[in-house]
Symmetry: C2
Subunit: 358 residues, 2 copies
DNA sequence: CTCAAGAATGTTGACGTCAACATCCCTGTA
DNA sequence: TACAGGGATGTTGACGTCAACATTCTTGAG
């Protein structure tokens, strides 16, 4: 048909892309031969191959991935379900996942969540399955409380990053526990009697692990374990926590569960005229690039998000391509010491620590 | 590998998803009727519809998007090409784009770039076209120097966010110029003689506009226009710039082209024992959430990234669905004043400074 | 009671690709 | 010269969906 309307020459009409048959016709061969050339098969004559390639480039042929997917049942696409990118860890992990997937010639289909509930994750998963992905990476840090994750099985490979446990599918994560231990030990080694903790949200898996790492370290050394203060990962909550802490006599060291909250703590302490690190030492977790330029530069636990992302993709692709489900894998973090931590000031006689839970 | 293994009953074998025909058979109707039900057509008897829906849910039927795409030529997917997510603006824009697209039931295909060169953008675009998207949003802030963008036409709708100009397709952006003017005027209105500028990279389009906004404002008021210092958007470069600025006598006000660099400036000034805002006022651009908790809290230009993302998606979808190409659209930013800016010290006798933080 | 009109449902084929199978032709050996 | 062997190329059909068209059934006016 001559096209339904004429209008201006504008290519408004989704001009049919050149198909394999168009190329075949132009090159004077069969569609199958074109397909062979397109897929780099060897059993095509050199001259023919040349002719086909010429025809392809003349027509600007690109294989239609929908047709390929329909035929093969594979999409070469990975779905990523993510709640918020405001949290530095999620962001970096997503970035690493995207890079790793691209390298393997997989495409990333991003599925944002409005709420991190179990129902929403399920809905997102459904949309992804429908939307043609070969596997899914779940980047939603939270326990999804009250759930065992069983409801999330959809018959396609699933890798969970930085999240819950029960009935867990393949999981990749930073070793949060060790990271927290490193930070806490560092502060104790500097001579602090104990360390206060500004924790992440209660329903967060990694926040829980960091809290445990901190608490177990204190216990192992026989130090008092003060009540942690829970924040929501963001700097405002760190500020609020910092205000409470600043009011406590005897405060000398704070370990915040991430850098963003540490920033808020720093502000609160500074505004309370407490000097860091002379009066109070502060450590964070994540090592976001900005942490180097906090005032003062922040001692923090460095996470290798690139490794986390690459590992997650590796595990997922392996499963997609027929391998066995990957097992649990942890990436080891390391401590980066900067100016925000130091030895405690000379303790004034008679100063005692606040009681836990007070 | 043991290849065709038996294993446990686990559904390891990519079990064929139920197709429309499976549902049809179970419900005792034709495939077409199932299709009609699946697409919510009205011309289906109530009883039949019930039966079909029951069969669907029993089989867990989900339409195969590859087949749909093949038949319709539409994928309901939007490609997003992005260079780095380390820049807060890109991140937020991506997030907003993803949310807006999801709302319209479009999927996001993320295509990260290893380098922001013209060739790489072209390659990414090719992959996206092939990978089945209906349109593309380009989120690569840079001039892509020496290029007119013409080479990027691929016959599919393209919307460019926050980037260059020549032969530009539909473009959405914050009104960077006005934003910079707001910040600069704010500082001048406080009584500063002039304002120093820590600019973004030279090849960045928005950095250029912010620089222009700053310069034009100074000129319009007949103020001296000092040489700008160029950074790379990240806090380290802000720190370096801040160190240079701190050494200058007579420095009273700095406008950084984004918050991350402003953070570095704050650190450098603080380390040089210059007080903010008593000695030097500092303003940023972006209003990232952390800016509220800088020390001191940062006066900055608030960008409505949500609007930018939503507008971009709106424009793109409109074009995808047959509407006319959208034209240039700018989102107006506004200034958020916090504690990092104030009157210059020791101007007139009797002027009292705000007692920040204390 | 007849028949037109419209509603409900079924049948066919095409979208683009590629595995499986079918041909065709060349080469070298008996 | 005849024919097996193998490489090059062509033909067919199926993947799942849905528009277009075909058929069947229902209803009510005349």
């Amino acid at each position: 048909m001559d096209g339904v309307r004429a209008e201006s020459g504008q290519g408004r009409q989704r001009r049919r892309e050149a198909s394999i048959d168009d190329v075949a016709r132009l090159a004077g061969v069969s569609g199958q031969t074109v397909s062979r050339v397109a897929n780099g098969r060897s059993n095509v004559g050199a001259a023919t191959r040349e002719r086909v390639l010429a025809a392809m480039s003349e027509l600007g042929y690109r294989p239609n991935s929908a047709a390929r997917a329909l035929r093969s049942g594979r999409f070469r696409s990975i779905g990523v379900i993510v709640f918020t990118l405001h949290s530095y860890g999620n962001l970096r992990t997503l970035e690493a996942v995207a890079a790793a997937a691209t390298e393997r010639r997989y495409t990333i289909t991003l599925m944002p969540l409005t709420r991190p509930t179990h129902a929403d994750v399920g809905a997102a998963l459904d949309r992804l399955v429908e939307q043609a992905v070969d596997g899914v990476i779940l980047l939603v840090e939270s326990h999804l409380a009250g759930t065992d994750g069983a409801g999330l099985r959809r018959g396609i490979p699933l890798v969970v990053v930085d999240s819950w446990s029960a009935d867990r599918p393949a999981v990749v994560d930073t070793d949060q526990f060790t990271g927290a231990r490193l930070a806490t030990e560092h502060l104790l080694d500097l001579g602090h009697e104990t360390v206060r903790h500004v924790a992440g949200p209660r329903d967060s898996y990694s926040a829980g692990l960091r809290l445990q790492g901190w608490r177990d370290t204190l216990r192992a050394r026989g130090r008092p374990v003060p009540e942690p203060i829970h924040g929501d990962w963001y700097s405002d909550s760190g500020y609020a926590a910092g205000q409470r802490l600043a009011a406590e006599p005897g405060l000398t060291a704070v370990f915040a569960a991430n850098d963003q909250m540490a920033l808020g703590v720093l502000r609160a302490l500074t505004e309370a005229r407490l000097r860091v690190p002379q009066d109070v030492s502060v450590a964070g977790f994540d090592d976001m690039p900005e942490a180097r330029n906090f005032v003062p530069p922040l001692t923090t636990v460095h996470q290798d998000f690139t490794a986390v992302g690459a590992t997650a993709v590796h595990a997922l692709v392996q499963e997609i391509e027929g391998g066995p489900p990957a097992e649990y894998k942890e990436i080891t973090p390391r401590l980066t010491v900067r100016a925000s931590t130091g030895e405690p000031a000379v303790r004034r006689p008679g100063t005692s620590l606040p009681a836990a839970g007070g």
